[in-house]
Amino acid sequence: MTEPHASRERREPLVRLADVGKNYGNIIALREVSLEVSPGEVTCVLGDNGAGKSTLIKIVAGLHRHDSGEYRVQGEAVAFSSPREALDRGIATVYQDLAVVPLMPVWRNFFLGSEKRRALGLMDIDLMRRTTRNELLAMGIDLRDVDQPIGTLSGGERQCVAIARAVYFGAKVLVLDEPTAALGVKQAGVVLRYIVQARERGLGVIFITHNPHHAYPVGDRFLILKRGRSIGHHAKDEITLEELTALMAGGSELEELAHELQGLAGAQEMSEEAKRLGITD
């Protein structure tokens, strides 16, 4: 498709958004946001709820088309009209809800939408079962029974199945939408390890999170969003974890938060006192 640009492609980042904007009716969801990710690199997108993170990844994933600005994949301007098109360009998105069908077996979920087939439209079930098992094993998940409904796996395991699926299907760019949001500390650690693993395999990763403590250890670049705008784009050596946290919350708001938390701590003590005295249960 892009032979003449072959030499240029290598220097171009895998994904580059330049001044991208998106409106929903009269709501401006995203305004002049830029982002890039190259092979073997993790770009973290941070922001509070409603900052525009979801809109941003929906554009990258091909669910929505951007209204302004430029979206380039390996140097070529694109405007995807379906997630399928993004997938065909090697951009795989692992959504917050993981895009899995809870009642379906793990292996059917793994190959959903990209089923392996033999003649007559028959699915190659043996191959799919075996591949699912091996791919998960490679990520350190030992599932003996890939026939169990995926809804029976733990949140971290499901997340890893979704990541393994994206990697297996030749993703060059992995877009992870809040993969650690619903997880406990230990399971979040497992997922972060896979992010590093994917980076070491040479994938570009776009990691969306609202937790700077998850983003900082694995990220190479950080894009901070607020109310649909970029309020900072930094390489790792330009910023510390403290600065990142402060930037995300916004200095004065952080102080307010500290006050609030102090208040809450007081309330906690009071309710414990009340419990001790037998006033409430």
């Binding site: 994933a61 997938l87 959504y95 087939r117 029976t152 796996l153 399971q187």
Partner: protein, 349 residues
């Protein structure tokens, strides 16, 4: 939150080991229906002496097949997460189209059969298209088409024939061969079995094959279980849903042709209310009303239960008015069993 429950690394394996064969059996969608079928069979064997005769059994199978053929399409649609309330009257529409086209234009009945197929598939396509274009619940869409078809069946038939039934096509070209295909009796070991029983078994086999062995089957489960997720991983959700509505239409066409060639005339007011029987067959057979779970074999067992109750009451010489009571009770029991089964499946961790 915040507190991670430390789990030994081998926890996943231990969990798998706990899934006993019994649990696995509980996870089958057909289980509830199978137990129900055995209970109903034993019950009527005891209370109705005539029930165990082979000729009675063939009558039960015939009743089961006429509803079972529709239940194949309806169950696939239900697994795909949708309803079709127009399925009952669509059978009549299909038969009417076949009869009216053949008689009024004096064509070979096979021309009527083919035109009916095109029209009925078109109706299914329309149901599907309306659903995916409007995004309204399929319950509403097909409720509307149900009333429209029921009205059109009567209106058009009266306008064309001046009567509520179509003229007999018994003497027309091709009737004998069409009857052989759609409504003949096959004698096996001295027992007459209607050919619909064999068609039913074939359709169930094809549907099961599609569901379990083909990509389309994967898509059907997925669009019913979580349509948004399915779309996100590249499953053509709208195409799958439209195809499922057309599957119901195909079954309606076949049932309509059976009606037409069994009786040669068609009563234009027939079919109203049957859509619920098809849904009951599917639900008793373990299909979840909310989609994403179920099987064509389960729906076939559901239809078999339906046939047993339908005819068993007659053989037991009870007042057939009680048939509907039985059916309702069975539906309630089946849904409760399904609920329990699904909870087991989802919590088998």
């Amino acid at each position: 939150m915040g507190q991670a429950v430390a789990r030994p690394p081998l926890a996943a394996d231990e969990r798998v080991a706990r899934r006993s064969p019994f649990r696995r059996l509980l996870g089958r969608p057909e289980l509830g229906a199978l137990i129900g079928a055995v209970v109903v069979f034993v019950f009527f064997s005891v209370v109705a002496d005539a029930f165990l005769q082979t000729s009675s059994f063939s009558t039960v199978l015939y009743a089961a097949s006429t509803f079972g053929i529709m239940a194949v399409g309806v169950s696939l649609l239900m697994i795909g997460g949708e309803f079709d309330l127009s399925a009952g009257v669509m059978v009549t529409t299909s038969a009417l189209v076949g009869a009216l086209v053949s008689y009024q234009l004096t064509l070979n009945v096979w021309a009527g059969v083919l035109i009916s197929l095109v029209v009925t598939l078109g109706l299914g396509f329309l149901n599907g298209l309306l659903y995916v274009r409007t995004g309204l619940p399929s319950f509403i869409i097909t409720l509307a088409t149900f009333f429209m078809l029921a009205g059109a069946n009567l209106g058009v038939t009266k306008a064309v024939t001046g009567n509520v039934a179509t003229d007999s096509i018994r003497d027309m070209d091709g009737f004998a061969t069409a009857r052989n295909v759609f409504a003949s009796d096959v004698t096996i070991g001295g027992v007459n079995v209607n050919i619909t029983v064999f068609w039913w078994i074939l359709f169930v086999a094809i549907a099961t094959w599609i569901l379990l062995r083909t990509r389309a089957g994967n898509w059907i489960f997925a669009v019913g279980g979580a349509a948004a997720s399915a779309r996100a991983v590249g499953v053509p959700v709208t195409r799958t849903k439209i195809a499922l509505f057309m599957g119901v239409a195909f079954c309606a066409w076949f049932s309509g042709m059976h009606l037409l060639f069994a009786f040669a005339t068609v009563q234009s007011g027939e079919g109203v209310g049957n859509e619920f029987y098809f849904i009951i067959c599917a639900v008793i057979g373990g299909c979840l009303l909310t989609g994403g779970y179920g099987s064509a074999i389960g729906a076939a067992i559901g239809a078999f239960i339906f046939g047993m109750v339908n005819k068993g009451i007659v053989y037991a010489e009870w007042n057939p008015d009680w048939f509907k009571f039985f059916l309702g009770a069975m539906l309630l029991a089946a849904t409760v069993v399904n609920l329990v089964v699904r909870r087991r499946v989802e919590q088998s961790r």
